[in-house]
Symmetry: C2
Subunit: 250 residues, 2 copies
Amino acid sequence: MTDRVTAAVLVIGDEILSGRTQDTNTNFIAKYLTTYGVDLAEVRVVPDVKEEIIAALNALRKKYDYVITTGGIGPTHDDITADCVAEAFGVKLYEHPEIIEMMQSRWQGELNAARRRMARVPEGGSLVKNGVQGPPGFQIENVFVLAGVPAVMRSMMDDVVPRLRTGAVVISRTVRVEGAGEGVIAEPLAALAKAHPDLSIGSYPFFGPTGYGSNLVVRGRDADLVERTVEDLMEALGDIGAKSIARVDA
Amino acid sequence: MTDRVTAAVLVIGDEILSGRTQDTNTNFIAKYLTTYGVDLAEVRVVPDVKEEIIAALNALRKKYDYVITTGGIGPTHDDITADCVAEAFGVKLYEHPEIIEMMQSRWQGELNAARRRMARVPEGGSLVKNGVQGPPGFQIENVFVLAGVPAVMRSMMDDVVPRLRTGAVVISRTVRVEGAGEGVIAEPLAALAKAHPDLSIGSYPFFGPTGYGSNLVVRGRDADLVERTVEDLMEALGDIGAKSIARVDA
């Protein structure tokens, strides 16, 4: 785990906390980072409150290699992410000429104060391309500031990932056990986990109208070790009386 | 906002951070709490790592009225939530006789070590009923420890909410603007937000194949004020050239 690269996601938005919106951005970012060997190590969701955003951002950017924020970069009064990021870094915001130009060509003369808000970038920041609609996001040091609208956030991630130092990709393999509960799976699973401290071995139970069981997930950066451990796991589970034990990876 | 009651959700689970699982528990809890006038003020997702769980739990339980954790209370080696909660509170875990009895009647003699793990509750804790499957969760002081499996977590919330001090319920009203962007909505919206510091007024833009616009959400605990503000908002938006401006609440 020596070359582990870590990231945190900071979701900024009252709408997630009120339950109005189901956050799907985190899951998209988690999968995207996993593909590139970057470990999403923490997620925080905070309201549109300046002190909360700044405190969370400062905690996360010191602790992890990267921080990706989503939300709060539009033109309305509740969009305060850029202000908070600038304050966290102790720098000023300025109107980025490239964004102003982009907006002038789109809206002709109609660059009102609200739209100009979206052209503000912290000093020392660079732009993150928006391939869909509207102004770009930005990067300052190890922090990437993205939109909250999922389609826009997703397109911005395409411009974030090439900038990241990526690590060894984590290989993940899943064994699905049906008709046996965690109570009987736990012992052989724990023995394997103990024998392989470099692997992450988890159990994710399911219950439903069609039956019960658990998905056992073996994760690690050494593909051979993951493979051998999956085989050992299936053998160890041979006599727990499960209805079926099967690999479910594509 | 004097009787504001706050809560935080602490999601414990590698499977959320790896992107394997889309967290839906937070959204369910957010809506449930909102209905009862409890403000979900922060969410954190942390991995199955003892130090991280304890640090997050201690930060959140001191800052908010309540903390609800999900995940990590099963019988497998990666289920370490109970251990972490006990350590955070500086107390010991003990096997709760009621859970042992419950499990003995279900599994007869087969109470192995893994299953007994699920009977462990911190000293001073009380049980949170599981109406679906398996052992209960528990409460210790202002912390509620629930399962991660959504169906189980949801049933446990029914036993959590009656124990909460609830606040004045937040009324939320939405105005959907089509065919006008936030750039022209921002100014009248900001004026209303400034005039009503006790309300939370947000703008949530959408873009799609069928058009673009924004959902404007007015939230507050004074129903009359929310209603008047929505009316003022619709009037103020009259001349921005939108295709349609309509209330979309049920």
